[in-house]
């Protein structure tokens, strides 16, 4: 066992495998939630399986468990690889793994029985918060000391993002989760919504986005075999992201009685988010320019590029829906749910999966069991998620327009059921994709194929 914790890249692999498992768990809970929105009496009288308890399990398991965990694993691979060194301490990375996954595990185990702080995206109870912060602290130490002990003088852009992610999260998470109030994890009164949405939006923005951006910056130039388009654009994208992102959470409570200047700041900076996003996307696209064939024909890179496309769609939609005029119709309904899915599964999830498949042979020294299964996963998720986006956006417009015209929530409810039926059906594609991925991962790593001596990817190459 001690051997395993010392083995180079073992923690990276563990994070990626855990991410693939959490994807299945999150998708199962998503499926239950989707069914319950159509058939509320499905599996009745089971306390852990009511919508109010299964939804946070779905959301948190997908965010922290699937996308977050997998992207950390990918980073733990490219960090030493790009710095031409070894991870400073493999056991410390394993400690991060344990703490991180304990937090994620507290979702299905805790929320199901009412152990939750109930604040959206800040649900984990105090002990789980502590565990996550410890995981992040371990990752800060590992990353910083790996950088210090590097043998490559230049810090590639992926390293910036990976390092900064944990610095930000270590400050962000305790603040948004109001960890100095262990019992409730909340501030008293209206101001809590500012703390809540501070982390609520920094979670995708300053945890998932930098991790996913770092992974995309790693994979795309490797696959296209071209140098990164522009160092300047990389710098601009990075610094704009942090300067603007932490301000925009207020657009979730734009129509609530928070102070007007805060609304202005959050709308202006939400719209400005178009800048860092476009810069990153343009930088990556220009890097791949002329070599689109190489990206398309490489199944992992295809997923990563898919994620970049979802990123630009998400981040054009996001700034638009922060506008008060549009929000009158789009707020409080399924439009936002559609947006959240293309952000987390589309942008974060696609890049996590693509980069995982890209990195997996390098970590394990074995080729991925089946590229066809990666393509199948791509197809299933793309069909499911595109359908989701369309169906939920339509449902949201139906709700928002009807409410705006004076219909009550109750009267519009029956109109939603055809959309919710389609959404549940499309969810089957996403659940299947998660299972196909886990199977492919298992078939790649299963011990039976372990006859030839193991080689590290770099050594083999």
């Amino acid at each position: 066992m001690t051997n395993l914790f010392q083995k180079p890249q073992s923690a990276a692999l563990a994070f990626m495998v855990a991410g693939a498992v959490w994807f299945v768990v999150g998708a199962v809970y998503g499926m239950f939630s989707a069914i319950h929105l159509v058939a509320p009496e499905f599996l009745p009288h089971v306390a852990p399986l009511v919508f109010g308890r299964e939804r946070p399990v779905h959301v948190n398991t997908m965010l922290y468990g699937f996308v977050g965990t997998m992207l950390v694993g990918i980073g733990l691979y490219y960090l030493p690889a790009l710095l031409k060194t070894r991870l400073w301490s493999e056991p410390l990375a394993w400690m991060a793994f344990v703490f991180w996954n304990l937090t994620v595990l507290s979702g299905p185990l805790g929320f199901a029985f009412g152990f939750t702080q109930g604040r959206e995206y800040n649900e984990y109870v105090w002990l789980a918060d502590i565990s996550l912060v410890l995981a992040v602290a371990c990752l800060i130490v590992v990353t910083a000391l790996t950088i210090v002990n590097r043998r490559e003088p230049q810090l590639y852009v992926s390293i910036w993002y990976f390092m900064a992610t944990f610095l930000w999260t270590a400050s962000n998470y305790p603040l948004g989760n109001v960890m100095w109030h262990p019992a409730t994890g909340a501030m008293p009164g209206l101001i809590d919504s500012l703390f809540l949405w501070f982390w609520g939006h920094n979670l995708p923005g300053l945890l998932i986005t930098p991790l996913a951006t770092g992974a995309a910056y790693f994979v795309i130039p490797r696959v296209t075999r071209t140098p990164l388009n522009s160092h300047t654009l990389s710098l601009l994208g990075f610094w704009f992201l942090i300067a603007l992102y932490s301000h925009i959470g207020g657009h979730h409570v734009l129509q609530s009685p928070i102070p007007n200047w805060l609304k202005t700041v959050s709308v202006v900076d939400s719209v400005s988010m178009v800048l860092p996003v476009s810069i990153v996307v343009i930088n990556l696209w220009l890097t791949a320019r002329g070599f689109g064939g190489r990206v398309w024909n490489d199944p992992p890179a295809r997923l990563v590029m898919g994620g970049i496309v979802w990123y630009i769609i998400t981040c054009i939609q996001g700034p638009l829906q922060s506008l008060p005029f549009l929000q009158r119709v789009t707020h409080f309904n399924n439009w936002t749910v559609g947006h959240a899915h293309i952000a987390m599964l589309g942008f974060g999830g696609y890049i996590a999966l693509g980069a995982m498949w890209h990195v997996l042979p390098l970590v394990s020294g074995r080729p991925v069991y089946s590229n066809k299964l990666i393509n199948l996963q791509f197809g299933l998720i793309t069909f499911g998620l595109t359908g989701f986006f369309i169906v939920l956006t339509m449902a949201g417009l139906v709700q928002g327009s009807a409410w705006h015209n004076g219909e009550t929530v109750l009267r519009v409810l029956p109109q939603l059921s055809p959309f919710m039926v389609m959404r549940a059906a499309l969810g089957i594609f996403i659940l299947t994709a998660s299972l196909v991925g886990l199977a492919n991962l298992y078939l790649t790593l299963r011990p039976a194929r372990q006859e030839e001596p193991l080689l590290r990817g770099e050594e083999a190459a």
Binding site: P40, P56, G118, W168, A186, L196, A243, S246, P257, T336
Partner: protein, 329 residues
């Protein structure tokens, strides 16, 4: 610009904290948590209900703030900062699969709430809310107490009205079936009592009414209108048995206006909610015709006084003789 480790780490943290100071620090220093004029403290039972609301994820489907552009239940009170004073956490919510609850207190009677939490479809057949019957009786009562406190002092005014009328409604019900209906009808303003249904009870209209009945009424008043729907055991007074109305027509003729008025305004104090935010005029009249034809066997639709028929109306003759004619020797 070269990204050295020191520049990366110090710079990333400096920009982050500067940015964060604006969005979290400044509000912390300037926002005051002063109560608004409707705010009042929560009782211990209500606080327990608030914990249940938070723990069970009610906030994923119910918001707790009314916007300027809202029309639905609660829209009389645009949310103000002081409404949330001291609540920890005051989860404003991001989704309205169900209605906003910031002013829910006193919207419905206590027994309606208990039935609703036990199984939301008992009171609201089209609801997709989960049944909370796995909670203990005490927990359901705590949850109901919390919901009834939403809206603060405004909710207390509504609750007082609910309880005052519940007392009267229960007294009337205790007086027997016929006395109860006389009391109910006496609460309807005079002008409505002799108002026939101005909408012809055509086949299409009755179908529309039936759909509304199934969406909104059926689990209290039952499929045959006898008031023995699944919600009935929870409610006191129980839902009205419509079939008895046959011997309580006003002047042996009129019933449409009474139906309309009671569907529109509900019967505060009983579990009968008002529907005037959900349904507009024609829908209520269609529903009234459906109740009358299906459960009373008679409707006053298109009887005198009827004025000038609307231009779309066909040559519809009311085929339903009033019961008094039936019973003539």
């Amino acid at each position: 610009m070269k990204m050295t480790p020191a520049f990366l780490i110090v710079g990333a943290l400096l920009v982050f904290w500067a940015s964060t100071f604006i969005i979290v620090g400044l509000p912390s220093m300037t926002m005051k948590d002063n109560p608004s004029e409707i705010w009042r403290p929560l009782s211990p039972l209500e606080r327990e209900g608030h914990r249940l609301y938070v723990k069970n994820g009610c906030s994923y489907c119910h918001s707790l703030f009314i916007r300027v552009n809202d029309w639905d239940i609660g829209a009389e009170r645009i949310a103000q900062a002081g409404d949330y004073a001291g609540i920890e956490p005051a989860i404003l919510g991001s989704e309205r699969t169900g209605p906003d609850l910031s002013q829910e207190g006193g919207e419905h009677s206590d027994d309606w709430n208990i039935a609703h939490f036990t199984n939301p479809r008992y009171t609201t057949p089209i609801s997709v809310m989960p049944a909370w019957d796995f909670l203990s009786r005490h927990e359901i009562q705590a949850l109901a107490a919390y919901v009834q406190a939403l809206g603060g002092k405004d909710a207390d005014v509504r609750q007082k009205r609910q309880r005052e009328w519940k007392r009267q409604a229960q007294a009337a019900y205790a007086g027997g079936v016929d006395r109860n209906i006389e009391w109910l009808h006496a609460q309807v303003p005079e002008v409505w009592r002799r108002m026939p249904n101005p909408y012809p009870a055509t086949e299409a209209a009755l179908q529309r009414g039936k759909r509304l009945y199934q969406q909104l009424c059926i689990n209290c008043h039952s499929p045959i209108g006898d008031g023995n729907g699944p919600a009935q055991p929870f409610l006191g007074p129980p839902p009205l048995n419509f079939t008895i109305l046959r011997r309580h027509l006003v002047e042996n003729r009129y019933i449409g206006g009474i139906f309309y008025y009671q569907i529109m305004n509900g019967i505060t104090g009983t579990a009968m909610p008002y529907f005037k935010k959900h349904l507009e005029s024609e829908k209520i009249w269609d529903l009234a015709n459906y109740l009358a034809v299906s459960f009373v066997g008679y409707t006053d639709a298109n009887t005198e006084p009827r004025g000038i028929d609307a231009s779309y109306e066909g040559e519809w003759q009311n085929p339903y003789p009033p019961p008094a004619v039936d019973q003539a020797p």
